[in-house]
Symmetry: C2
């Protein structure tokens, strides 16, 4: 177990009928609010009216920025910063899923920065002097509600990059499972896929067993598998929605990586290249790519030189697989992951999502722009090209 | 899943060779320190000298209080408060295991209180205006390093009572697994038993499956079982010590109870009565009592009216037990827990610890002083008497 400093400062207010506490939580940190949200779904569900009325009742000044896209674009970030500066705002309330919260983080980082906020994505600017962020979560998927990471797209340059800083961790998040009752079957399934992917990516940090963090990861994976299909079939099932929501936060708040080396984010890295060019849901992209990345790790050149401990523990502890032939057990484990995505009707090929092979060279090049990708095994551009080719 | 507010503010600095960060962490909160520790073991291991030298190097004023006992007595608490008031101290550094940290919490609560600190244990005084506490953990067992709970004994009245408050959660804790290399085989085993007991007590909160908190509890239990014997046999095994240490903290920082009703702390409650009168290690007492409490829950009057979901999930997910006969599977699960304690050479009868049946009526009466004990099933005084009788 490697040294680490545990520090998860987000206060999570979990459960239904707790939103009345919102003004009090905001006023602990600020009193002039940028209210950030995405599409009109929060207007349809009544959440928008509820937030506005809570803010108005306590006389909390706010300005709105709506229209944050599923892959939030740097243009929204710039717009948010402009509104903050013009109105002297001191708090950001993000209402939505991971995209809205990710956008809030980039706005927060740029609020007191004189240059262009894309600099943070390029690593040219240092995060400091941020505005505090609070969030109301409406989608169980990303984990952004409890960590300092953010992914922002740049439509003009067809780039999708990530940055992060501990200062950008939301100070509070309201998690009300009933707010996800209206999430579509497809988005529910994609969200569950995203959670499982985060868990797998942190799990495959090395070739050896990591003790407690691995056991916790397996526990969360079992829990998502137990409840995902239920949430798809019964959108109003509170227990299913609650379990997905809480797992999504714990799956990406560092809890399962403390003590481990950095995870293997190859699948996420490749998926970001796909969704930078094509309009594909993040979870759907992961469902296609992840099993193929894992299968690639098992090809003879790679797997024969590495112990298969991670595959074997995952298979045994999550899927009950026992097989004397280690390679067969590892392949069976990947099959089980694929089966899970299948039960959620997630796609298995890029062509299912209207992505053909015409740009896989561009995507492979993009994914490898900083050198290799992944950690369990380092993937070079040609490896990524192969994986994409097998995924079309 | 019930509503909850997640808020775990303790910063954990985990790993070897991190202690140099101590002065900086202290100075975030105070600069006049009460340095609290137990027996001379920290002098033998060199930890005492290291702490003193770190404090002196940065010119941090401190006063010492040593001799905090394994079941910390209210007399130590009074002494600590006296030193704080006489020297105008503003921070408490607890170096040791749960007893020392528990003592620090009572001192903290009483530091700005004009009455006697035993009032907090009796529920007569309200915790407010506390002093911040930091800790350096030297024993993997209690979880006190990451929560606001405290258990204090009163030798004069032969009482052992608990209290707690969120304000008493340590602001930081250093967890260096190498500091537990010198813990004896017996204390290592007792500590592991304590961790498993905490997990079981939170697990048996109800008769139904609780989803994520239950899966996380099972994961932690598997991890303790994987590493406890290893730590006993190889005291210098860093991975084993690290896994026990980190699990001890996560097992009792509320993570596995968020979303659940209060746990079933019957075994702890009964054990506190035993160790209030007899000099028995907490973990050893739990190893004796816990399986007997669970067996009592399975007796025909109780079990026939209740679903055995918890027993069955625990058996299946932690011990791999599958049996069509639910009662048999539940009994097998208890047997497996007992087997685990046996592998650690923990006692199975009170008589092994020189406790006879002469005072079990007093202990049963004491345990039931606030009415019933437990939650999975409510135990009355006569139930507790029966359990103690079967445990002698």
């Amino acid at each position: 177990m490697l040294n680490f400093t545990y520090n998860i400062p987000t206060k999570i207010i979990f459960g239904k009928d707790e939103l009345g506490r919102l003004p009090k939580e905001i006023l602990l940190h600020g009193n002039r609010v940028l209210f950030l949200y995405g599409k009109n779904s929060i207007k349809k569900t009544g959440l928008y009216d509820k937030v506005v009325s809570l803010l108005n009742d306590k006389g909390i000044f706010f300005k709105e920025l709506s229209g944050v896209k599923p892959n939030p674009d740097i243009s929204s970030v710039r717009e948010g910063i402009k509104i903050i500066k013009e109105n002297n705002l001191n708090f950001i309330l993000a209402v939505g899923g991971g995209s809205t919260i990710d956008c809030a983080k980039a706005v927060s980082a740029g609020a007191n920065y004189t240059g262009d906020p894309w600099d943070f994505l390029l690593g040219k600017a240092k995060v400091k002097n941020v505005l505090p962020i609070g969030s109301i979560l409406t989608l169980a998927a990303t984990g952004s509600e409890m960590n300092g990471g953010s992914v922002i797209s740049n439509e003009k340059t067809q780039e999708k990059l990530a940055f992060g800083h501990p200062l950008l961790v939301p100070v509070f998040t309201f998690e009300d499972p009933t707010l996800t009752f209206s999430v579509s079957k497809y988005q529910t399934a994609a969200g569950a896929t995203d959670i499982v992917s985060h868990l797998l990516e942190q799990y495959f940090s090395s070739h050896n067993d990591d003790g407690l963090p691995d056991r916790l990861t397996e526990a969360m994976m079992i829990n998502v598998i137990n409840y995902a299909k239920k949430a798809v079939l019964e959108p109003d099932n509170y227990e299913a929605r609650a379990n997905l929501m809480w797992t999504s936060s714990l799956a990406l708040n560092n809890l399962v990586t403390y003590g481990k080396k950095h995870g293997d984010w190859a699948s996420h890295g490749i998926e970001h290249e796909v969704s930078a060019i094509y309009d594909i849901t993040h979870g759907a992209g992961l469902a296609i790519l992840f099993p193929n990345v894992l299968k690639y790790y098992l090809n003879k050149d790679i797997a024969e030189s590495l112990p298969l401990t991670k595959f074997l523990n995952l298979g045994k502890n999550v899927f009950g697989i026992s097989n004397d032939d280690e390679k067969a057990a590892a392949l069976k484990t990947i099959e089980k992951i694929r089966d899970f995505f299948d039960t959620l009707d997630m796609p298995s090929k890029l062509s299912d999502e209207n992505v053909d092979d015409s740009k896989i060279d561009v995507m492979a090049k993009g994914a490898a722009r900083k050198g290799t990708l992944g950690y369990y095994h380092m993937l070079e551009e040609r490896d990524i090209f192969e994986i994409l080719k097998k995924s079309v």
